[in-house]
Amino acid sequence: MTTFIMLTFLYRVGYVRPYIAHEAGYKQEGAMRRIVLLMLVAGILVSVPALGAEPFDIGFDDRVRPVFCGCGERLLPRSGGQVQSCY
């Protein structure tokens, strides 16, 4: 996604085109532009599914033998069977 945004930005502000034209001449510019365009398309293909992916949140009762305070709060896991502190 970052690559996609960066390439789009560079292309849009015209940073890539003049640089290519100056350094490599107009003939090479066409080829480089195609490469950049291909990278943009690849970026879109990679980014679109990633944009749609949602995290999956699971809430669980951490009943791995916890001990509860009177108020219902869980105590920290024990060490050697001893209760340590509340959180």
Partner: protein, 291 residues
């Protein structure tokens, strides 16, 4: 374990410790949580309508001896608890164990004096002799057995297979909207269980680290815990033989009736409505090497 090993096939699974039941239910209802994990009994407790939200889609693990009822000298069966004082915590698996045992004797929780207090208080009441029995779990079992003379194990979750089962619960709309993700998560879970069985040392250390406890402590705890892999899930939920009532449905219905009878819920839903087999039934393990 599954997340660490990449078994979820790209699904970003986030784990949230939510110790209070009402907060888990609110999270599920609001859509903040796509899944909650808790015992089958807890899922049915304190309902006011049979049309509550959520369906069980697979089982995670079960208590095999970790949840128990210990009793003082002279109490040798659940029937002997009539008129006695039993300390424990309402709704916990050992409490449900007690109810199930009483039901076998034709008794209810009202036939005894149940002292519903925090676990440290319950242990203190039992050790001091104020209570005749204690519904508890490790590590209190070992300490309770040692401190008071004549104390013995009366009931164990090992004697009630399939009852103290932790299950994965989701909203109906998540099943339809994120079916593919759920299948990946279930598959990831079963692969992790297989991996744990094949690599107990490595996985024990990884899980202990995630829980923030020493590996030895986790190993000790896990002796009373049985994971539900693919085969166990298919057997428990009767996927291979859908014509008949599965263990999961039978136990779900029995537990619901027992909870209602004992005033722990006002409404009971049926297992056929609450159990959705579409995820277990369609998932085929791709990674055969982890079986």
């Amino acid at each position: 374990m599954a997340a660490e090993k990449g078994f979820y096939h790209g699904v970003e699974v986030r784990f949230n410790r939510v110790t209070k039941e009402d907060q888990r239910r609110d999270g599920l209802a609001s859509g903040r949580l796509q899944m909650i994990c808790e015992t089958m009994g807890m899922f049915q407790t304190g309902r006011n309508t049979p049309d509550y939200a959520g369906k069980l889609i697979f089982a995670l693990d079960e208590s095999r001896g970790t949840d128990v009822v210990v009793a003082a000298n002279g109490i040798n069966s659940a029937g002997d608890l009539r008129g006695k004082t039993v300390a424990g915590q309402f709704g916990m698996p050992s409490y449900l164990l007690l109810i199930a045992s009483l039901a076998r004797q034709g008794m209810r929780i009202t036939d005894l004096n149940f002292l519903d207090v925090s676990m440290p208080e319950a242990v203190a009441a039992f050790v001091s002799g104020k209570a005749d029995a204690l519904c508890t779990y490790e590590p209190h079992v070992s300490s309770s057995l040692m401190v008071r003379s004549g104390v013995h194990l009366l009931l164990s979750s090992r004697d009630f297979p399939g009852m103290a089962v932790d299950v994965a619960i989701v909203q109906e709309d998540v099943i339809s909207a994120r079916r593919e993700d759920l299948q990946k998560i279930y598959e990831g879970w079963t692969m992790a269980v297989a991996y744990i069985r094949d690599n107990p040392d490595e996985s024990g250390e990884l899980i202990a680290e995630a829980l923030g406890i020493p590996a030895d402590e986790f190993r000790q705890m896990s002796t009373g815990l049985g994971f539900f892999g693919k085969a166990e899930n298919e057997k428990y939920f009767g996927v291979e033989d859908p014509c008949c009532e599965s263990d999961a449905r039978i136990i779900f219905n029995l537990m619901g009736r027992a909870l209602e009878k004992n005033g722990l819920t006002n409404a009971v839903s049926s297992g056929s409505k609450r159990i959705d087999l579409s995820i277990i039934g369609t998932v085929k393990l791709k990674a055969e090497k982890f079986r």
